[in-house]
C-alpha cells in the first residue's frame, strides 16, 4: 500500500479521536453534574438556606445562593443593558465617525478579553477606598463591567446588519436618528439583540472570580444592597473541596442548578430568536 493512503488513514483516525474527545468531554461534564447534582437535589435543598454554618454541614440547602445569583445577574444585566444599548446605537454611522467607532470597538474588544478576576480586584480597590465591605451592590457593579463588552458586541453585530436603505427609508419620512433607532433598528435587530442580552446574562450568572471578593459570601438571603450575598458559583467554589459530604452535596446541587440555568438560557435564546423574526425583513 502506498504511504499517502496510510498517512491519510492515520490522520483520519486521529481527527475522529479528537472530535470524540471534545464531544466526550462535554457529555462527561454534563453527566457528572447530572449524576452528582441530581443525587443531591431535593425539595429541601432548593428551598432552604444552610443551617449550622455553611462550612460545617448540618442540613439546609442552597436557597441563599439561588436567590443571590438571581439578584446579582439580573441587576448586572439590567444595568449593562442600558449602557450597552446606548453604545451599540451610538456606533452607527449616523452618530459617530468611523474613526471614533473604531476606537470604541477596539476598547470593547480589549475589555472583552480581560479575565474576570481583574474586574473583581478593580471593584475591590474601589470598595476599599470607599470603606465599603463585601456586598450585593459591589458584586453587581463588577458583573456589570464583565457583561458590558459581551452584550455590546452582540448588539453591535445585530445593529450593523440592519440595511442602510431601511434606515434611509425612514429618514425620508422625517424620522430623526433616535426615532429610527428605537422604532425600526431595534425591531429589525431584535433577534440578535436578545441573544446578546441572554449571552451576557448567562456569563454573568456563572462567573465566580469577579464576585469572589466583591459580593462575598453568606448563609442568609441578602435583604439589602449592602448585605454580603452568596451565589451559585461561589458556593460551588468554596464547598466542592469540603471534607464533609453534606457540604459537598450543596456544591453539587448548586452546580446542577447553575448548569440547568445556563442550558435553559441557551434554549430560550434560540426560541426567542425564532419568535422575534416574524416581522423583520430578510
Amino acid at each position: 500500500m502506498n504511504f499517502r493512503k496510510i498517512e491519510e488513514y492515520i490522520f483520519k483516525i486521529l481527527m475522529l479521536t479528537s472530535l470524540i474527545i471534545v464531544l466526550g468531554s462535554l457529555i462527561g461534564i454534563i453527566a457528572v453534574v447530572l449524576i452528582k447534582g441530581g443525587a443531591a437535589i431535593n425539595w429541601e435543598m432548593l428551598t432552604t438556606t444552610p443551617k449550622g454554618g455553611f462550612y460545617m454541614g448540618g442540613g439546609g440547602g442552597i436557597l441563599n445562593a439561588i436567590v443571590g445569583s438571581i439578584y446579582l445577574a439580573s441587576g448586572a444585566t439590567v444595568l449593562a443593558f442600558f449602557i450597552s444599548i446606548g453604545i451599540a446605537i451610538y456606533l452607527q454611522r449616523e452618530f459617530t465617525s468611523d474613526g471614533a467607532a473604531g476606537i470604541i470597538r477596539a476598547s470593547l474588544d480589549i475589555l472583552w478579553g480581560i479575565p474576570s478576576i481583574v474586574y473583581g480586584v478593580f471593584c475591590f480597590i474601589i470598595m476599599m477606598y470607599l470603606g465599603v465591605g463585601t456586598c450585593l451592590l459591589a458584586g453587581i457593579v463588577a458583573l456589570t463591567m464583565l457583561e458590558i463588552p459581551i452584550m455590546t458586541r452582540g448588539m453591535d453585530e445585530a445593529i450593523k446588519m440592519v440595511p442602510s436603505e431601511l434606515k434611509e427609508s425612514t429618514y425620508v419620512l422625517g424620522s430623526n436618528r433616535i426615532e429610527t433607532a428605537v422604532k425600526v433598528v431595534l425591531r429589525q435587530g431584535l433577534p440578535g439583540i436578545t441573544s446578546g442580552i441572554l449571552l451576557a446574562f448567562g456569563r454573568g450568572i456563572g462567573d465566580a472570580a469577579s464576585i469572589l471578593f466583591t459580593a462575598g459570601f453568606s448563609d442568609h438571603i441578602a435583604t439589602s444592597l449592602f448585605d454580603s450575598a452568596a451565589a451559585l458559583p461561589t458556593m460551588i467554589f468554596f464547598l466542592s473541596t469540603s471534607p464533609i459530604p453534606e457540604v459537598r452535596d450543596r456544591a453539587y446541587a448548586a452546580a446542577f442548578v447553575l448548569l440547568s440555568i445556563v442550558l435553559l438560557i441557551s434554549i430560550i435564546s434560540r426560541l426567542l430568536t425564532n419568535k422575534f423574526s416574524k416581522y423583520i425583513i430578510k
Partner: protein, 257 residues
Amino acid sequence: MKISAPQIVTKDLNVWIGKKHILKNINIEIPEKKITAIIGPSGCGKTTLLKCFNRLIDLTDNVRVKGKVIVDKENIFDPHIDVIDLPNIRKKMGLLSQKPYPLPMSIYDNVAYGPKIHGKSNKEDLNKKVKHYLESAGLWNEVKDRLKDPATSLSIGQQQRLCLARGLAVEPEVILCDEPTSALDPNATRKIEKLIMKLKKDYTIILVTHTLRQAKKIADYAGFIYFGELIEQGPAGEVLVKPKEKLTMEYIEGEFD
C-alpha cells in the same frame, strides 16, 4: 431653458465620493407639480443627484458636496443648518426607491409610522389617514382585511405600493422616484406608472429612470445626465424625441451604456 417658478433649482452642484467626481457643475431646474424624468446611462450619478435633493447624500461614506440646492427659495445645503433640523427638511421629499423596504412592522404600522412621529396619535385620525393613503396607492382593497399582518407578507409589487402609501402619509411636496419599477413585473409596473401620473396633480415628481419608454410615456420634462454632467434639460417632447445636443440624440437612439 427657463421654467417660470421652478420648485427646485441647483446651482453649480458638485459631488465627490472619495476621489471620484460624481456630479459636475449641475445646474438643473425642476418645475412644480410636473413629472421630470432624469435619464442617462447607469452609474452616471442620477441616484446621487436624487440623494442631494433630500440630503440623504450626507450618509454616504467619504462624500463632499459643493454648490447649492435651492428648494422653495431656500438652500438646503446652507452650512448654518443644524444636523438636528435635517428630518424636517427631509420630510418635504418623499422617496420611492428601486427595491421596496417595508418597515419591520405590520402593514398598518408602516403607513402610520410617519404620522405618528409627527404627532398624530389620535386613533381615529390615524385609521382615516391609513385608509386614505392606502387608497391613494391603490392598495386598500387588497389589504383592508389584513392590516395587522407583517408587511413582509405582501408581494413585491404590493410592497412597493405600500412604500408609496407610507411616503404619501407624511404629506411631502415632492416625490423622488429612483427607478421605482425596475424590480417589478410589467403588470405591477403599469400600476405604479398610472399612480405616478395620478399623483402629479398634487405633487412635484422627479423620476429617475433607466427606460426611455417609461420616460416618454409619463414625463412632462426631462434632463439627460451623462457621466455626472447635465447635457440637456427641457420639455419631454424635446429632450426625449428631438434633442438639441448630439450626445442626447446618440443616447436615445442607441441607449448605450
